[in-house]
Amino acid sequence: MLKFIIRRLLQAIPTLLGISIVVFLMVHLAPGDPVLIMLGSQEQAITPERIEELREEWGFNDPLYVQYWRWLKNALRGDLGKSIYTGQDVFKTIVERIPATLLLTISSMIVAIAISLPVGIISAVRQYSAWDYIGMVGALLGVSMPAFWLALLSMYVFSLKLGWLPATGMGHFSQGLGTVIKHLILPSFTLGFGMAAMTTRLTRSSMLEVFRQDYIRTAKAKGLSEKVVIYRHALKNALIPIVTVIGTQFGSLLGGAVVTETIFAWPGMGRQAIASIQRRDLPMIQGNVLLMCLIFVLVNLIVDISYTWLDPRIRYD
């Protein structure tokens, strides 16, 4: 087990290096002079001589691989530069926002799983029943609904009209856990709904697939109750493809969080990323992309490792 985890960690290194190269290259791929980009819009009247000086000073005249190595060494020490817009340290600013984003994405995932597993299982067990039909049409609607639209609608109904829940912000833990949970309900439901829809469809098809296996017939033939067959025999096996998808779905949750955080003014990385794109604050954009990808790689690592628990046949050697 430990050997597998170490090997899986080593396998993640090339991916991480690739991500770092892409993020590093952003400055050079953006149209325009990197010096002018890094200066932002503050300095309009700058002489060509001053640009040359800065180019030398900031090391843009060095070969690309030298620049990359320098950038990577700094990044590993947690130095991602300073924001063009606010002058604040990029790494520190973003790290402060990671907990809010993780809180939102993980609660959305819990919402999604809490909806999709029961609905998917019922749909599969009672295939072609009214429940199945309602569940599947609901899931298709969920897949097709823009999350930002659902967010706006629920904000209109539940905060503006009914006044039950706060429309924006996160509250603070010092105001009590209840305040934060109240703020969390709308964002996490609107973000989790799309994932719930997708996972419901998968749970259903995965359960149906497992129901056809011989060992289920054996279990039934032994005279075990339906409950035991469904939950002990079928569900655990049906979970394997579901867990894979939950891992990749975490990526779309992070992407969706960008939208949800912007709508609900949630103080996370996503909102920060959009704000920095609008200000063309390149170091901040780089930092956000880098850390979001890092989190995504980490989550997939955890998912991969959890396989071995779900399916002891998987040994990866």
Partner: protein
């Protein structure tokens, strides 16, 4: 004898169509798509006003106002007309993104699957690498580099979405190239490209078409998301996501501005999803049992 020749004419696609026709949801989806295309084509005739015609004496008119069945927006522009013109943008975005991403993905997947070896390794490393990024964030990153515009949003989505086609086509080709008809084609001296695109591709087309139909749905959804964030179509255009972006600031006073464009997106995306699901069931009847 007559019977035999008639049976030969029943191609795979006629069977697929026969099964597809029986799927009610899929037919509803197809009907909606046809209607949407007609709306897009005849937008000039159907829309009561030009999409950018302002009327500053009639701002935020609620739905049901005479002359403006869905009301007007913050510049007094007729919402129904804007929604009608918006079909042009969204349907174009869906088609362009899918055309670009499937062209890249199918070509690279075909090359990787057919030739194998180091070509395959390089292409699949790139694919695996792109899978390490959260897709929407990668798209946002590309738009952030290139600068926000609808054109760049489409380009970003195409650059992100091709990997699915590549993986799928490669898998199909790996299995298909072992078959006798490929050997036969090679024996009569067909070139690699001829075998790939004339002999192999038609046999791998089914899943690709399903993926394209679902891909249009996904592309419309993602592009409207990018526009909503201000990274796609600009606010003056009649793009549905951009309309929602503008409408979100008037949620309290004019909720219709944040309602109808979203409904339009959902109906369009739903129709393509219905058709995609229907095609999948029609192409692979074993799944339907």
């Amino acid at each position: 004898m007559d019977n035999v020749s008639q049976q030969k004419k029943r191609s795979l696609w006629i069977d697929v169509w026969a099964r597809f026709k029986k799927n009610r949801l899929a037919m509803v989806g197809l009907f909606i798509i046809i209607v949407l295309y007609l709306i897009a084509i005849f937008a000039d005739v159907l829309a009561p006003y030009p999409y950018d015609k302002m009327n500053l004496s009639n701002l935020y008119a609620p739905p049901g106002t005479p002359g403006h069945p869905l009301g007007t927006d913050e510049y007094g522009r007729d919402l129904l007309s804007r929604l009608i013109y918006g079909t042009r943008i969204s349907l174009t975005v869906g088609l362009v993104v899918v055309a670009m991403s499937s062209a890249i993905g199918v070509t690279l997947g075909a090359i990787a699957g057919y030739y194998g070896g180091w070509v395959d390794s390089i292409i699949m490393r790139i694919v695996d690498f792109l899978y390490a990024f959260p897709f929407f964030i990668l798209a946002i990153t590309i738009v952030a580099i290139l600068g926000p515009s609808l054109y760049n949003a489409m380009l970003a989505l195409a650059l992100v979405n091709w990997v699915g086609y590549a993986r799928m086509v490669r898998g199909q080709f790996l299995a298909l190239k072992q078959r006798e008809f490929v050997e036969a084609a090679r024996a009569v001296g067909a070139s690699g490209f001829r075998i790939m695109f004339v002999h192999l591709l038609p046999n791998a087309l089914g899943p690709v078409i399903v993926q394209m139909s679902l891909g249009v749905a996904g592309a419309i959804l993602s592009a409207s998301g990018l526009s909503f964030l201000g990274l796609g179509a600009d606010l003056r255009s009649a793009e549905w996501g951009a309309m929602l972006n503008a409408g979100k600031d008037y949620l309290r006073s004019a909720p219709h501005l944040a309602t109808y464009p979203g409904l339009a997106i959902m109906i369009t995306v739903l129709a393509f999803n219905f058709v995609g699901d229907g095609l999948r069931d029609a192409l692979d009847p074993r799944l339907k049992q």
